[in-house]
Symmetry: C2
Subunit: 298 residues, 2 copies
Amino acid sequence: MNSNSKLNRVLIVGGTHGNEFTGSYLIKKFQQYPELIRRTNFETLTLLANPRAFKEVRRYINRDLNHCFSRLDLQDTTISGYEDLRAKEIDQIFGPNSQNPIDFIFDLHSTTTNMGLTLIVDDYDFFSLQLAADLSYLNPDIKVYTFGYSYPSQNLLPLRSICKSSICVEVGAVAQGILNAEIFLKTEALVYAILDYLEKYNRGEIPSKQNTLTLYKYTEAVYFPRNEHGEIQAMIHPQLEFKDYLPLHPNDPILLTLDGQTITYKGDSIVYPTFINEAAYYEKGIAMCLTQKHQITI
Amino acid sequence: MNSNSKLNRVLIVGGTHGNEFTGSYLIKKFQQYPELIRRTNFETLTLLANPRAFKEVRRYINRDLNHCFSRLDLQDTTISGYEDLRAKEIDQIFGPNSQNPIDFIFDLHSTTTNMGLTLIVDDYDFFSLQLAADLSYLNPDIKVYTFGYSYPSQNLLPLRSICKSSICVEVGAVAQGILNAEIFLKTEALVYAILDYLEKYNRGEIPSKQNTLTLYKYTEAVYFPRNEHGEIQAMIHPQLEFKDYLPLHPNDPILLTLDGQTITYKGDSIVYPTFINEAAYYEKGIAMCLTQKHQITI
């Protein structure tokens, strides 16, 4: 988005993963009470992205919907899993070639990890970085995270990639398949804060001053050790559990094997672990993601 | 079990629900290191009860395995879902009509609720009540819970019902589909404590003195309000979240509707809620179970 263009249509997404209830139930609430998300100078739309997975309380039916949005996949007529078809449908209604493309998306996720209120942005998306800087300045509990260019790969683009500017809201810790009222209320407040920011932006009321922002940049994933059957052989070390965003020093414990051996962090500088013990990452064998902490000026 | 009979075969079960990882990974550990559960005067066996659900990280494939053990179902040749067949297989190997029936079962479960270390016993099972009294005396963090006669109904008998004496170990809070090291280690220690008790019992070293026991008896379930589509319309109230086993007074908040209204407890005496916000109970619409707290002498 260039700095002069106004937003016409904003899309709030929930239930991209069917077992992350916070977003799904917020979408249902907003659909029941649309006045809550109505703002004066743009249209707000809502989407329950994966209704079948929501109904079955699963992350996905055939494959992760949040990996189905590369142009290659969207144009591939030979793939027809439930999520593949759903991605095409979503792209036709809201995508760049639709009649009324969306100008800004934010997608509501939750996590079993203790990531609190996290905004995930793309580090080339200047508009979202500014929004994240503004919100995290107003509420220092908000952390800002980026996978940079390294994730997702160009073959596994997320839903929000159908729009040039977008944010993923990631809130935890909350188990899959439940609502936690505190998490729900915090996420709801964050939705309103984002909408209020967008309204101010459309009014030209966002000052063009320089912002500083603490940005956690993904560097690598740490994998669980596995046996020959692919079964994990370790857990998050109790000293690291729920310590997302806190500094991890060389030789600090990170994993505890099932037979009681401590595995330490072998890097040579401080890193900031995130997604520590995310249930959805077990199928990939990922124990946590490491980040570096940057102070950036935008 | 009468007071003179010795235990010959003890079965430790995990993974009755495929997304409760603590028990499954403990079973795998015990299968890898059988010396950990070996005791001098009985044989210890292990069972990963629902391997397919474990692999798919789901509670069950076709229906809850822990509801498949009524004699009627086990003898019904017309039912053939995955869990129905698995139940028959388990009954044939370990059940009362098998070549070497089991004398005592304990089944390792986990919960998204903050129930800490809970032993679920049947209130007519004198042997298990004594075991629970002894363990909770040694470790006051252990709570003892019973569904009494009201649950499960005679049509939905649990796996452990194939044995005359049994305990269900229920540990939380832990999200589905993850391992939490602290929960894992606590459950493992509890397994060893149970085995040590059984070994002492076989040696005749359990004193026949009277024991007192705090027993939480299930009285009723509290349901989420739902709309005409069956979708829940409220969450656990933030003031009640994670407050399992703490006293709930008349007019205390229990639920918060999605549109922000507080629902209070309408009973006329103190109760002790359990299973507050159990993910697996959402499909039944159960928000929590209420219990009464009894001091009993056995």
